[in-house]
């Protein structure tokens, strides 16, 4: 059975705002919690490890108590076709937030599909370093078929040798069943899985959170008004187990491994599914009028 995203969101918000705290409700909650052992609300906080947060109060408030589920599955999709690099960059930024934990010594594995490598290029170590990922902390593997990739990602998550597994995902193959398997594998291996979907789609997955990312025109560095600055993305939290959806425009600062909400855009309502620049609504209106 496939649940529409809108319906999912409604049920998620229902779960948060339901106030009938009868004994039946509590018993049901306990039962569901038992079924979903890797629920972020129930995860025992590790004695020393830091929670996996984005480091921004605005966004973290939308997530469940511990931030992102440390041993869970999260998926990221581009808001539009050309936003794949942005989605990958955002996935990497999330991964880096996780790797910043001093107790985490395991590396990151990035599973690529040969098809996606032809379409968007293969991973470039110097570029990964430029975004803040040290060469010594990641390994990569290229698979020919999406099914092979799902198998590899599952084995990698289960193995316990990796802190994070990033994987190119194909909406056709990575359905509810496949992602449920991945989520269970992630819980078994105490690793986080990040699926990067190649194109925007609304299919259901079993991931803890679902994000969409889009590229936004960056702020130029102060010394060169013509040059592109730090990467800037609009991220939308479409679905979060135990959390609330939301949308923000964030900048990734690679040196301190930190997100920053861009001051000019703070609180600015913005719909990320349109490909328009959020900076200048007046100009947008003008453009619309001009046709």
């Amino acid at each position: 059975m496939r649940i529409e995203p809108a319906q999912q969101q409604r049920t998620a918000s229902l779960g948060v705002s339901a106030h009938e705290n009868g004994p039946l409700m509590a018993a049901l909650r306990r039962h569901i919690a038992r079924l979903e052992r890797s629920h972020p609300l129930l995860e025992k906080p590790h004695a020393r490890s830091r929670p996996w947060t984005l480091g921004l109060a605005e966004i973290d408030a939308h997530l469940a108590a511990q931030g992102l589920a440390r041993a869970g599955l999260h998926d990221i999709r581009p808001a539009a076709y050309g936003d794949m690099p942005a989605a990958m960059g955002f996935a990497l930024a999330l991964a880096l937030r996780r790797l910043a934990d001093p107790t985490e010594r395991r590396p990151l594995l990035w599973c690529r599909l040969a098809r996606e490598e032809r379409e968007y290029g293969r991973l470039y170590g110097h570029g990964l370093e430029a975004l803040g990922l040290a060469r010594s902390r990641f390994v990569t593997v290229t698979l020919r078929k999406p099914v092979h990739l799902l198998w590899t990602a599952e084995e990698a998550l289960k193995s316990g040798a990796l802190a994070l597994v990033l994987a190119d995902a194909d909406p056709k193959q990575a359905d509810l069943t496949a992602t449920r398997r991945l989520a269970l594998a992630a819980a078994a291996g105490k690793a986080a899985g990040l699926l990067v979907f190649a194109r925007p789609h609304g299919g259901a997955t079993a991931s803890h959170t679902r994000w969409a990312a889009a590229a936004v025109r960056s702020r130029s560095p102060p010394y060169d008004a013509e040059a592109p600055g730090a990467p800037l993305w609009t991220v939308q939290l479409i679905r979060a187990r135990g959390g609330r959806p939301g949308a923000w425009t964030v900048e990734w600062q690679h040196a301190p491994h930190r997100f920053a909400v861009v001051s000019g855009l703070r609180g600015g309502a913005f719909h990320p599914w349109t490909d328009e620049s959020p900076e200048n609504p007046a100009a947008r209106q003008a453009a619309l009028r001009a046709g």
Partner: protein, 537 residues
């Protein structure tokens, strides 16, 4: 020849012929032809004159050899030391093996019976030396695996095989060697025709008569240049006074496990159970010698005489039965058992010393886990988990290579392993060191790079400046921000490749998407071309 041609009826005289300098000659004849008095080496014209309805086919030595090698591989079910003895024999070293098959006689009987079922007429001999076994298999009248002892001619596809076993001291020492060989003709010594004729002319017809002659005179009379001319050498080899090595078809592995089954097994569950016991036995042997396996071959013998080989590779030596089993089991699912598997062999082809490792409370077992994951991925999907190693080159596509080396392997755990440590120790805020690159330049490098840069058409404001707009994949993008150029000159020490300088620009279009473009060539010299080389988030 077995696949393409049906063998002629056994009752009709049949011969294989080859083209010699004096016309066609018989190479091999069947029993019926032999009954008419035809022998190997006769001219076909003479044979036809004697037996007008003789059937003949052209001899194919390559097909014969292929068939012999196939039989060799099948015989590996008895011993790993198998060597083809062209043109018509197979040598097996069965030292320490007969008891697995219920004794020597039982093993030879089984061998003969199985070969007979596949349509081979085989003669088996067992002795302490290769020479003696060869002689017994071909000339012994006592061989019980042949109805009619006779000369050694036969069909090309037939194979006479000898097996040679070096038994323990005392075994057959008193009754075997001398006695078994004494009565055999001197041709059984593997000497050439000329020497044999000379010996016969001298009245020395059996090996026994040679034994009575002083060695010195034999050595003086038959000191041949080649080995078959040297009668004394052949005699010594047959009697075991001189060692003769056996050159096996496959390099023998020091670690192997074998199971012969009473009944053929078809079901995957049954095969898995046998595999389980094989792996356990092999792992125990390996562990006892502190060795780990890096390359394994699982051989499955089908009951129809064919064999399947399943190779498995490991990235680091291991003797963990669970790990080996996890690699082998998925492969077992893919094989076609046919009519059933009646023997299985697991051989360790390459091994390496393995040091017992203990992971303390500071180190975790992550490296080992990654090795094992890599083994499983490698054996299933033929791809490896690689880390990207930096290469000292300015050309972006050459600046790194994927390498099977796991991260943090050879790094000092105190200051290299992990960003968190770097941040703490040197205050570099997690920025990795770039060899020969300033941080500003390094920031320009794209996250994704194309193996083949994709051509774009560009409109630039000034010839040497950054593009204003460009068309890539049929979509025109307007440039909002650009940084560059970063000029990368070709590596002059690779002049043969004839590169031109490139000017790289980091581009952001009006939607915030980023590209890494370059212009190849300089204005004024040639018409420059533009390419997209990478994408950034």
């Amino acid at each position: 020849m077995k696949a393409r041609k049906t063998p002629p009826p056994a009752k009709l005289p049949f011969a294989l012929v080859e083209t010699g300098v004096k016309g066609l000659r018989l190479v091999a004849v069947n029993a019926a032809a032999r009954g008419f008095g035809l022998t190997r080496g006769q001219r076909l014209a003479d044979a036809r004159a004697a037996v007008p309805d003789l059937l003949s086919e052209l001899h194919e030595p390559e097909a014969d050899m292929a068939s012999l090698l196939g039989l060799c591989r099948w015989l590996e079910r008895y011993s790993p030391w198998v060597s083809p003895d062209a043109p018509d024999g197979i040598l097996l070293d069965v030292t320490g093996i007969p008891h697995l098959f219920g004794g020597e006689a039982a093993m030879l009987a089984e061998m003969g019976a199985r070969l007979g079922r596949y349509g081979f007429t085989a003669r088996v001999g067992l002795a302490q030396t290769i020479g003696a076994a060869w002689a017994l298999a071909r000339y012994s009248p006592l061989s019980s695996y042949r109805r009619k002892p006779g000369p050694t001619d036969g069909l090309g596809a037939m194979s006479r095989q000898s097996s040679h076993g070096e038994m323990g001291p005392g075994f057959r020492r008193d009754d075997g060697l001398g006695e078994g060989l004494e009565g055999l003709p001197i041709e059984a010594l593997r000497i050439d025709g000329e020497s044999a004729r000379t010996l016969r002319r001298l009245g020395l017809k059996t090996i026994g008569s040679l034994l009575n002659i002083p060695r010195a005179s034999l050595a003086r009379r038959f000191r041949g240049e080649t080995i078959p001319e040297n009668v004394l050498l052949r005699l010594d080899e047959a009697l075991g006074n001189r060692d003769e090595p056996l050159n096996p078809l496959n390099p023998p592995s020091s670690f192997m496990a074998h199971r012969a089954l009473m009944e053929p097994v078809v079901t995957p569950e049954g095969l898995e159970a046998i595999l389980d016991s094989l792996v356990t036995a092999l792992a125990r042997d390996l562990e006892a010698k502190a060795q780990g396996v890096t390359r394994l071959i699982l051989k499955l013998f089908r009951s129809d005489g064919s064999r399947i080989a399943v190779p498995v590779g490991l990235s680091a030596p291991s003797h963990d039965p669970r790990h080996i089993l996890r690699l082998l089991k998925p492969k077992l699912e893919t094989i076609d058992a046919g009519l059933g598997i009646d023997a299985m062999t697991l051989e360790a082809r390459e091994t390496g010393a393995i040091a017992a490792r203990q992971y303390g409370f500071m180190e975790d077992a992550g490296g080992e886990g990654l090795d094992r994951l890599n083994d499983r991925v490698m054996n299933r999907h033929e791809t490896v988990i690689a880390s990207l190693q930096e290469v000292a080159s300015h050309i972006p596509e050459r600046a790194e290579i994927p390498q099977l080396r796991h991260p943090g392997e050879s790094r000092d755990p105190l200051n290299g392993n992990g960003k968190a440590n770097t941040r703490k120790s040197d205050g570099a805020q997690g920025v990795p060191a770039f060899a020969g690159m300033t941080e500003e330049k390094a920031k320009l490098r794209p996250l994704l790079i194309f193996d083949r840069p994709e051509p774009v058409s560009v409109i630039a404001a000034v010839p040497d400046g950054p593009p204003m707009r460009f068309t890539w994949r049929r979509v025109t993008r307007r440039v909002a921000k650009a940084q560059g150029p970063e000029r990368i000159a070709p590596e002059w020490w690779r002049l043969s490749e004839g590169g031109t300088p490139r000017d790289y620009y980091a581009i952001e279009d009006e939607r915030g998407r980023r590209y890494w473009l370059y212009r190849e060539g300089l204005y004024g010299e040639t018409q420059p071309r533009w390419f997209v080389h990478g994408l950034s988030p």
